[in-house]
């Protein structure tokens, strides 16, 4: 229904071209003129900055490209950048960066490790003689070369940040290693300025720190690559070419060239290239990659197919209905990417700290140096330099900064694999705290496709005549129960008759005139209000309701003629999924517009904690509010269309979709398949992610809060422990790696089997 409306109301087609070869602003007019002259173009506008042209009008893409090429420029369809290519390029760049970091590591460690070993085996690291001055001076120059080859990015970064009144991790590393090197050079050149005990050189520390931090960064690049595996998998579902029928011939074209209304062919074993509507053939389609639903779905004429899904058994011809960035897959990818980059509020404190972190560490470093100089034992200067350097090196803003985004990245990706699309980090955080889950019965607990189960005729009319009249009047209604009656008539090949003066009475039923008779069809309330005597039919109605069927009454000329029962089958796994939610301590509440008896029957079958019957659609939001006022954190599950106000009001709105026909943007969390297990999966992933974030944040806080005072020498007066700058460098390098690795653990998370 909605789809046909969309098609009718679709505005004039707008296409965006990427223009190549336009090097001056003067080209703009020329290109715009050429495009505007193409018959059918209503408006063409070029954005010189983007090198793109937006063209409105019903014109084939090829014609536009030709028009641009005729005046000496090149054009192609924009906004269909190949995600897979971009990804490969990104991976290649990451690989190059990884190699560079490793090279930096080996150079620095190649100098640092021998020096450190020399120190550990008892070699003199102090400068007392001229020979030592010369030797250590040479070592100092070699270290300087290491600082340049392996660490120049830290120093340049620190300097550029500094002149921009900003400080970051580079600042800390540059200051720490720079201080150690400068002090050591001071010892080499003017040892006499310093007391004998303070003539210690720290070249090994400088080289080791640079090596270890580069190594940590290299490991981090590898580990972070893994955090985006889910999105890589989704991007991998996009195929590069499609077979379309042009002039009655099959042509294999690039996916970017597939246009709306093109007829696309897919053979068994091929992936669906774009979204479309089947026009001939039938086949089983594996949609698990999008919905998490393991059982293939049969598709035949009129059904929708989604790009990225796998055609298993037969050949299909379908008409492209969504291409490029509009396909369900492209939207899912873009939503997952956006959500992966968003942050839940739990990470806010870390953000605030990050902004003040580096200058604060610099101040702590100065204070610790002053304390050592004023109150420390001999050699005070050497202790002060070591403590100040160690404080700078051990502090790790990265671990704090990475704690939340890394977990969100993996968690959101993991959820997407299970067919659960989480809109943002905040939804993820709130979902983990839900205490009450409100479910709409129809389409959520039940399949949402009711069918007629009983027709009890109460007068001498023929059953098929009763069904004919009932279906004729119901064919004007869009209510799911009405559709069930109409389908039942169609199944029996009963022709419908004309109904006039149709009137829908909200929440009660319908009335109209047919062949001179007044028809009334609806619930008990409608009959009572219209003065139709129900007598013993009420009892029959109750009996049907107790079997989870919805009884409806049909009256002709205000005389009751039939009770028609419709039942909506409960989804096979609803009961198990509800039990899973309850085992997580969540209260499950069912809302339904049905009468109390039907509600009781369904509630009993699926085992919800509470239910509310005869709830009108407009009252659902109010019901959600009642729970919220009682202090509950409410999740509301609905189909995303009728339940929009309740979904919006709930703390977390879950839009439930069946197959790929899903309103991706309508809820905080969208379940790509109809099963309620998706809800339990969403909550399980959210809880696991939140726990992971908390572990990361705690780890990062504890590391910095404990590490910095120890580095400053707080333990020295009590236990004689003072950290070496090299140990601090190793700890710092591996602290952010720990955070990323912990986030990666989420990749192994599995929702309980169902």
């Amino acid at each position: 229904m909605d789809k046909s409306i969309n098609q009718v109301e679709q505005p004039a087609l707008e296409q965006v071209l990427q223009i190549e070869g336009a090097s001056c602003a003067g080209c703009v007019n020329k290109i715009e003129k050429a495009l505007n002259n193409v018959p059918g173009v209503t408006q063409a506008q070029m954005n010189f900055a983007d090198r793109t042209a937006s063209v409105s009008g019903d014109v084939k893409l090829e014609v536009l490209i030709q028009a641009v090429e005729q005046i000496g420029y090149h054009a192609k369809m924009a906004a269909t950048e190949d995600e897979a290519d971009t990804l490969t390029e990104k991976e290649q760049e990451e690989q190059n960066y990884y190699q560079t970091l490793l090279r930096h590591t080996w150079i620095a460690l190649g100098v640092g490790v021998p020096l450190m070993i020399y120190g550990l085996v008892g070699g003199t690291m102090t400068v007392t003689t001229v020979t030592e001055q010369v030797v250590w001076g040479l070592v100092g120059l070699v270290t300087l070369a290491v600082m340049y080859f392996s660490g120049k990015h830290f120093y340049f970064g620190a300097w550029r940040s500094f002149i921009h009144h900003s400080a970051n991790m580079d600042t800390l590393i540059a200051l720490g290693t720079g201080t150690a090197w400068l002090y050591s050079m001071l010892v080499v050149f003017v040892p006499d300025l310093l007391p004998l005990m303070a003539r210690h050189v720290y070249f090994e520390a400088t080289a080791m720190i640079i090596g270890l931090i580069n190594l940590g960064l290299a490991f981090e690049v590898k580990a972070r690559g893994k955090t985006s595996q889910a999105i890589k998998r989704l991007i991998g579902l996009q195929v590069k070419t499609a077979t379309v029928i042009r002039d009655e011939e099959e042509v294999n074209i690039a996916i970017a060239k597939v246009q709306l209304d093109d007829v696309v062919k897919v053979r068994p074993g091929e992936q669906i290239p774009v979204d479309g509507e089947v026009i001939s053939g039938s086949s089983m389609i594996d949609e698990s990659m999008l919905t998490g639903e393991p059982v293939p779905v049969e598709k035949r004429k009129g059904d929708e197919v989604a790009s990225g899904t796998l055609n298993k058994t037969g050949s299909l011809l379908f008409k492209a209905t969504r291409v490029g960035k509009d396909t369900a897959l492209a939207k899912i990818i873009s939503m997952v990417k956006r959500a992966q980059n968003s942050k839940p509020s739990i990470g806010r404190l870390a953000d605030v700290i990050s902004a003040y972190f580096v200058p604060t560490i610099m101040i702590i470093s100065i204070i610790s140096a002053l304390v050592w100089l004023n109150f420390g034992p001999e050699p005070q200067l050497a202790f002060a330099i070591a403590a100040a350097t160690t404080v700078l090196i051990i502090a790790c803003p990265c671990a704090l900064g990475l704690a939340t985004p890394m977990s969100v990245m993996v968690g959101v990706g993991k959820a997407a694999e299970a067919g659960v699309l989480i809109r943002n980090g905040e939804a993820l955080q709130t979902a983990s705290k839900i205490t009450t889950m409100v479910l709409d019965k129809t389409g959520t607990i039940t399949a949402g496709s009711p069918s007629v189960t009983d027709i009890i005729v109460l007068d001498d009319r023929d059953e098929s005549r009763v069904l004919q009249l009932a279906a004729s009047i119901e064919s004007h209604s869009e209510h799911p129960l009405a559709m069930a009656v109409v389908s039942s008539a169609k199944e029996q090949s009963i022709n419908l008759v004309e109904v006039t003066e149709f009137n829908a009475i909200a929440g009660q039923g319908v009335e109209g005139l047919c062949e001179g008779e007044h028809l009334l069809f609806g619930n008990e309330k409608l009959m009572t209000q219209q003065g139709v005597a129900l007598d013993q039919a009420v009892e029959q109605g109750q009996q049907l309701a107790q079997q989870a069927k919805t009884p409806m009454y049909f009256a002709i000329n205000n005389q009751l003629v039939a009770v028609i029962a419709v039942a909506d089958a409960i989804k096979a796994d609803s009961k198990a999924a509800i039990a899973r939610l309850q085992s997580n301590g969540i209260k499950v509440v069912m809302l339904t517009g049905d009468n109390r008896d039907t509600a009781v029957a369904v509630a009993k079958q699926v085992g919800v904690d509470e239910f509310y019957a005869e709830v009108q659609p407009q009252d659902k939001a109010a019901q959600v509010e009642v729970f919220q006022q009682a202090g509950e954190i409410v999740g509301m599950v609905g189909d995303g269309i009728n339940d929009a106000p309740a979904l919006a009001l709930a703390d977390v709105g879950f839009a439930i979709g069946t197959g790929t026909d899903v309103a991706i943007e309508s809820g905080d969390i969208t379940l790509m398949r109809g099963s309620l297990h998706g809800l339990a999966d969403a909550i399980a992933v959210s809880k696991a992610t939140l726990t992971n974030i908390k572990q990361n944040l705690l780890g990062a806080f504890v590391y910095n809060v404990a590490g910095v005072p120890i580095a400053a020498g707080l333990l020295y007066p009590f236990f004689g422990i003072l950290l070496s700058p090299v140990i601090a460098g190793a700890a710092m390098a591996f602290s952010s790696l720990t955070v990323v690795s912990n986030a990666n653990r989420l990749r192994w998370f599995k929702a309980k089997q169902h």
Binding site: A49, H153, H164, H165, S166, K337, M362, N374
Partner: protein
Amino acid sequence: MIVINLLGLVLIGFIVWWFWLYQPPKQRTNKGNIEIEVKDGVYTPAQVKVLAGQPFTLRFIRRDPSLCAEVVQIPTLSVSDNLPTNQPHDISLPELAVGKYEFHCQMKMYRGVIHVVEDE
């Protein structure tokens, strides 16, 4: 020792002023496309001034391969984009109300501000 202690205190004072209290000079108003280079730990320019009620585009060019520079976020506008390396990446922004809009990387090490001002 007094001199060293005083020097230390001056240095602390300098850090506080340089990193926290310093107010950047007034910027020229930018129009249309604003190119921002992402390199060596800073956005250049990091302070962007635009007129209220006029849409504009931030074009980020990331020259830094490190992962810190990978994402740019404008939290108040719900923008969070991945930046490719050595390629322009445009973020088109709608007409904004007067105010300050921070943009930064995921770890807030790269930081910048969009100042949206009334017509001068």
